[in-house]
Symmetry: C2
Subunit: 320 residues, 2 copies
């Protein structure tokens, strides 16, 4: 398939990044980071998560962060939540775009570990989630499968299992007249490779051509951009990523394991192969360097070190 003309990039660094940092990041720094990202022209910035401060103390200032940011027209600011309590907190900010998602983890072991629920229990709970969303007029537009390619606690995940889980969630969504638009496949622990991306994306496209696909990829083992390129050639045009590679993988069993794919490296890849992102790469590279200063340790981003090629091309034209 031809490469898409344009893709949408959802910046998740402020959320994925801040929840893993060991040293507390000041609320003002979080706000500045989001405000700098706002200058880069993303369709969406995931600002924070509304989870229990008991479990994730780094996110205790979620409301403060949202209150502090300057929301720019053209960008949707979102937060993630895991239950109706979190959803109501997000709504109460009166500033975020709040959408619902039916999500499930394809790994039984990880599901139990992470959410204390089996896959069947998660599926059974979908009705409750739908009821809560309906009560607050939150549209459920997305179906998501985490660990869709493999899991550090369970091993490889068969694409057939992922398809059957999506099928059941879509069944529930249709029974409830939900306006599903998108299926998210998340490679939560970096198990995907270009061949497995092609296989699973192809199966989802064949079965549900009416839905958009989003890929949430982690670069745990360095295959992030190779996977993106494989997906682009399948026509996928919707990706999550984190500026500078903020984040890291809390499940890897080694410290400093890389997390999400790096936004500026993704934008740069797209620029080089003629796929538009709408993102201002010059400004984004500055944000990446600032993100590194904020967390106080090296982050995995490469373009912020190697320099983006369009800036070399501009420089060479003006000095020759």
């Amino acid at each position: 398939m031809a490469l898409p003309k344009r893709i949408a990039i959802h910046e998740v660094g402020p959320r994925e990044g801040m929840q893993i940092e060991k040293n507390p990041v000041a609320t003002a720094d979080k706000i500045r980071l989001v405000d700098m990202l706002s200058e880069c022209n993303f369709p969406e910035i995931e600002v924070t998560s509304f989870v229990s401060p008991k479990w994730v103390p780094q996110m205790a200032d979620a409301e403060e962060v949202v209150a502090g940011i300057k929301a720019r027209p053209g960008t949707a600011y979102t937060g993630i939540y895991l239950n109706s309590q979190g959803m109501v907190r997000a709504l109460k900010t009166n500033k975020l775009t709040v959408l619902g998602k039916l999500s499930i983890t394809a790994s039984e072991t990880f599901s139990k570990k992470n959410t204390n629920r089996t896959l069947e229990e998660t599926l059974a709970e979908a009705e409750e989630r739908i009821a809560a969303a309906r009560e607050w007029n939150v549209k459920i537009t997305e179906i998501g499968v985490m660990s869709a390619f493999g899991c550090n606690y369970q091993g490889d995940i068969a694409p057939e299992l992922v398809i059957s889980l999506i099928d059941r969630l879509i069944g529930t969504a249709r029974e409830n007249d939900l306006p599903i638009e998108l299926i998210q496949l998340a490679d939560t622990m970096g198990w995907a490779n270009p061949l497995s991306i092609r296989r699973l994306v192809g199966m989802v496209q064949d079965k549900w051509p009416e839905y958009k696909i989003n890929l949430h990829l982690h670069d745990t083992r360095g295959l992030g951009l190779a996977n993106v390129f494989a997906a682009l050639e399948m026509g996928v045009d919707d990706f999550d990523s984190a500026v500078a590679g903020l984040g890291g993988c809390p499940y890897a069993g080694f410290k400093d394991a890389p997390g999400n794919i790096v936004t500026e490296d993704l934008v740069h890849l797209c620029q080089e192969i003629g796929v538009e992102t709408g993102v201002d790469l010059d400004k984004l590279v500055e944000v990446a360097r600032e993100a590194e200063r904020i967390v106080g340790h090296p982050l995995p981003g490469k373009v912020m070190r190697g320099g983006d090629l369009s800036s070399y091309r501009r420089k060479l034209q003006t000095t020759v």
Copy 2:
């Protein structure tokens, strides 16, 4: 094209890595690094370079390093050299595999900067190199083009230029009955992307199907493994890489710019897509961690942090 069944990986970390480190690395550490790499079963390890200690003081101990390593059967130990003086130094170790190469930089600007010669001067010198190699019975088996995709000092390099340079070098080689086997395309400063890899590799394959292609790729902007995957699908089965990503790019204009692609991440990619490398990944990951300890700062390798998937699979099978 189908993926190759097996590829050859040339480990260049000891050479590329040590020449860029600011703090001197002890000779004993260099020797230990090569000896650990020898356990991993590479067809070739590039041990050092025979260049002037005046210009590259980090390589002043080239002879000592070669004398110290335990050469293992099945691995060719090599060193690079830029002139006949260096070639003779390599020969005098009486331990290295010494082969000749006709090489050129596709960037006129970089050629002048790096070697103080224009492209025409470099081409003209080929006859001298051939004579020196003949005198010492050194076989010239390789043609190499550096900066074959782009250059920080000159910008994009047209594939047509690269083809014409190879054509002239092959002409010289044929006139002199050289046993050329391989064409090396080096992305010295990380300008390649999967599309430009396909284009140039395809052009070389179409014009010279009789020669093997080697890719020497740098990961300066994070596209290294995406480029490898594109090349594998073109049937390329010969790659250079550096353990842990030892090296870095001295031309990038930013400090800490990433250098060569990371050997263990490359081996891991191959493992995941069913391409054999013959390399022992478990041992290699240990070498990568040791390389990081030796240089005393973080290196770009990801698998040594994220953990290789085969080790997860083994662990899960034994504990379930």
